[in-house]
């Protein structure tokens, strides 16, 4: 099992962001997490990359466990993950090439290997002609695709995408979602947080719903009105 949540609760000053969550994600799975604003989607993600630890319960990710992980282990856990945000979070003073190369640069990969990997990835994603551009020169869709390239450059086993289409129009969102589906087909587990689960075709993914920190059964869930 790649990810296990066992009775996980997280309180911020007594306010439950996550409440008794049980969850498992397997190798190569596609998981869609939806729910209204403030439901706890981002909190759930933060527990996966262990930027936060549970108040109660246990999180296990790629062999690291929340009750035993040490500060020095965090970089090694995160090298197995790729993370994409709603607001892209590209570094503005670096070119597309350097943004995508960053995860390799901070882990001591040789310059030659970095060039080889980044060029082939940019070519694959049809971003090669943009490699010398700066983020602000790109459209939102291209910025998000660069962010996805950065997340994928070191071959993660899990890709976490937290509302990656939140700032994009429907057409571009379509392209980004298709890209995530492609990535999943090539074997990477993908976890996508979205307000609109209908973006992902049924059958491609497993769907879960969060409401005020609780996992809810979609069949009895009346939250669709809010989506």
């Amino acid at each position: 099992m790649l990810i296990t949540f066992r009775n996980v609760s997280r309180y911020y000053n007594d306010w439950p962001a996550l409440e008794n969550i049980n969850l498992q994600v397997e190798q190569g799975e596609f998981l869609v997490v939806s729910g209204p604003s403030g439901a706890g989607k981002t909190s759930l993600f933060r527990h996966i990359w262990m930027g936060d630890l549970p108040s109660k319960g246990l999180v296990e990710v790629a062999g690291y466990s929340s009750d035993r992980i040490r500060k020095n282990d965090l970089p090694f856990l995160r090298r197995k993950l790729g993370i994409v945000f709603q607001d892209f979070r590209l570094l503005p003073e670096r070119t597309v090439f350097d943004n995508v190369a960053l995860p390799l640069q901070v882990t001591g990969t040789s310059t030659k290997a970095i060039r080889r990997r980044v060029f082939s990835l940019l070519a694959e994603m049809e971003l090669n002609h943009r490699r010398s551009s700066y983020p602000h020169e790109l459209s939102g869709g291209d910025q998000q695709r660069v962010a996805i390239a950065r997340a994928m450059v070191s071959h993660p086993v899990i890709l976490l995408a937290d509302e990656p289409t939140g700032n994009l129009d429907p057409e571009v969102s379509r392209i980004v979602i298709d890209l995530l589906i492609d990535i999943n087909r090539s074997g990477t587990a993908v976890i996508l947080a979205t307000h609109d689960p209908r973006q992902v075709p049924a059958g491609t993914a497993k769907f879960i719903y969060l409401d005020r920190g609780h996992l809810v059964n979609p069949n009895f869930w009346d939250g669709y009105r809010q989506l």
Binding site: P75, F76, L91, T109, R150
Partner: protein
């Protein structure tokens, strides 16, 4: 590993490149405040040298009574030379004293002639001391026991001058240590503040690096380097400025510049307070991995 270190240094340069102007101003500020310290050091170093030279010359001059015989004075000199702390004694006869007087003060030589042949300078014994006896207390003690001896008329040594100088150098040394501490503290705080600003300015880069798996030290090295560089360049700059001032003043105020060891001390103080400042700045700036 080499690649990683090289990349960390590049990150540091990237940090500084975006704010070269304010970086240089900070270094200048550090240099100017370090200059005060350097000047303190120079004064204390030079006074210390003067004191040391004075102490080399510290001796006791024992004036003997006029009617003492040659044999008595030689005996007295023998006794004194056997006392603790005395390195050597030298007997100065009235004739020799007169010759020295004439040589040292040729304009006053007429005075002796005027006083006539029946006047002559008193014979004396000059005592030079062992190095560890060249402090005001020990000289005083020795002088007191010699002054009680038969045939001793008067005794002269630098009792007025020495304790004052020793105390001045003492106080100055304490002031230098105090100035050094104040300076180290203020430099640390200045660097802590600029590093905290740098961390805030680069919050996104810090977050992204830690999220893509950069080791903790990789995130910290650029900021540590910035503090180290500010401290070292600042103290080196202060030394350059002080050399210039020292050179301009040397015709009117003769003095020596700091010796190599003290220059190293200034640089080490600069570098370590810079590094300490970075560390403080990062502690308050970089979020804990769990928050």
């Amino acid at each position: 590993m080499i690649h990683l270190l090289k990349n960390a240094i590049n990150e540091g340069l990237l940090n500084i490149r975006g704010k070269l102007g304010s970086f240089l101003i900070t270094i200048l500020m550090v240099s100017l405040s370090f200059m005060v310290f350097d000047i303190f050091l120079i004064i204390s170093w030079n006074l210390g040298t003067v004191l040391k030279n004075e102490q080399e010359n510290v001796g006791i001059e024992v004036f003997l009574s006029d009617n003492i015989t040659e044999i008595e004075s030689v005996n007295l000199a023998d006794i004194i030379s056997g006392m603790e702390g005395v390195r050597s004694v030298y007997f100065v006869s009235p004739e020799e004293a007169e010759a020295v007087f004439r040589a040292d003060l040729p304009e006053q030589a007429d005075l002796l002639t005027l006083l006539g042949p029946q006047f002559h300078l008193p014979p004396s014994i000059q005592i030079s001391l062992q190095p560890d006896y060249r402090t005001s207390e020990k000289v005083g003690g020795l002088a007191r026991s010699v002054s009680g001896m038969d045939g001793v008329e008067d005794i002269v040594y630098g009792k007025e001058y020495l304790p004052g100088l020793t105390r001045a150098v003492d106080i100055l040394e304490k002031l230098v240590v105090l100035a050094g501490l104040v300076l180290a503290l203020s430099l640390s705080l200045v660097v802590a503040n600029t590093v905290r600003l740098a961390v805030t300015r680069r919050a996104l880069a810090v977050q992204i690096m830690s999220i893509v798996g950069a080791p903790g030290w990789f995130v910290r090295v650029p900021f540590l380097g910035e503090g180290l560089l500010t401290g070292t360049a600042g103290s080196a700059g202060s030394l350059l400025l002080t050399v210039a001032v020292s050179w301009m003043l040397s015709p009117s105020v003769p003095h020596e510049f700091l010796p190599g060891k003290w220059i190293m001390l200034v640089l080490i103080l600069g570098a370590s307070s810079g590094a300490a400042g970075s560390w403080i700045g990062m502690k308050s700036g970089i979020p804990k991995p769990r928050s």
